[in-house]
């Protein structure tokens, strides 16, 4: 079976059209040829004839290669970092933001809260809100477990059925908003604390 796949791959590459195709397009066309040959051989067609028929039925490879849509442009920074071109991939960036938000709420917020309590600096409502969210995260082991479970389920679902572009942007906006809100919430009292120190001097 592996021999058949290798032979098909070699014939396919010998057509000279593979340079125009992406790896995924090549893989897809090759699997089509494999399935076609397998089904013909199972129906009693001799192997060589089946290969010929499969290529004929697949059609003009040059024409097929030209018909594939042009890929979504991918920006590359001078450092070589690839920026995700498909807006639906924004959802992954949003999930990493949410992970970062959870990390800050879990580990960083309590330390800040402790400092604010000790120096008795006035804490704004926004800061209190995020401190409460951090307390909630740490108060019950069920909360992070449920969050992890939800994240796992989201990854499985999103792999099968990606979110729409609008929903991806909305999720990204929310996650960025949460991270910025938390950063501002933590640094506002710090600024007033530093100002207080400055005034005392």
């Amino acid at each position: 079976m592996a021999n058949r796949e290798d032979s098909l791959r070699r014939i396919f590459e010998a057509t000279g059209v593979t340079a125009r195709l992406s790896d995924e397009q090549k893989r897809e066309l090759l699997t089509h040829l494999e399935d076609a040959v397998e089904s013909k051989v199972a129906a009693g067609v001799p192997e060589m004839e089946a290969v010929g028929q499969a290529f004929t039925e697949l059609g003009d490879l040059e024409k097929i290669a030209r018909q594939f849509p042009t890929p979504v442009p991918v920006a590359v920074t001078p450092e070589g970092i690839r920026v995700l071109g498909d807006p639906r991939n924004l959802v992954w960036i949003a999930l990493s933001h949410l992970g970062f938000f959870a990390f800050l709420s879990w580990f960083v917020t309590p330390r800040f809260a402790e400092v604010f309590r000790q120096v008795r600096v006035p804490v704004p409502g926004l800061t209190l809100l995020f401190m409460k969210a951090g307390d909630l995260l740490r108060s019950s082991p069920l909360v992070p477990a449920a969050a992890l479970l939800l994240l796992g389920a989201a990854i499985v679902v999103l792999r099968r059925k990606p979110l729409s572009v609008a929903a991806s942007y909305a999720l990204l906006l929310i996650s960025v908003g949460l991270c910025i809100g938390l950063a501002v919430g933590l640094f506002l009292p710090l600024i007033s604390l530093l100002e207080g120190i400055g005034t005392r001097r």
């Binding site: 066309l29 076609a36 697949l58 097929i64 018909q67 594939f68 849509p69 099968r160 572009v165």
Partner: protein, 108 residues
Amino acid sequence: MELRPLVLAILESRPLYGYDIAQRARRRANLKWEEGTLYPLLHRLERDGLLASEWRKAPNGKNRKYYALTRKGKTALAKDRVDWKERVRVVSEILLGGKHGKPGRLAP
């Protein structure tokens, strides 16, 4: 023949991979076509958000790229159906006659 509605209709019941779609199209529509042209179409439909895809194991144990209709794809299929009915109605009226069974006449 327009392939988009055909492919969307084939994928309506469940996700399928390329070869499977091509075989169903051949059987259901008695289609004589270059099967390879299906793949650029699938990629375009996926790019336009009408299909979602995923590589997973087929019943023969091999990895195949399965395509499934998205919500947008279902809406497009419903619209294609309405358009198709309208086209059939118009052409039937011209070729077979109107409501009274009289052959329709094309304007000069």
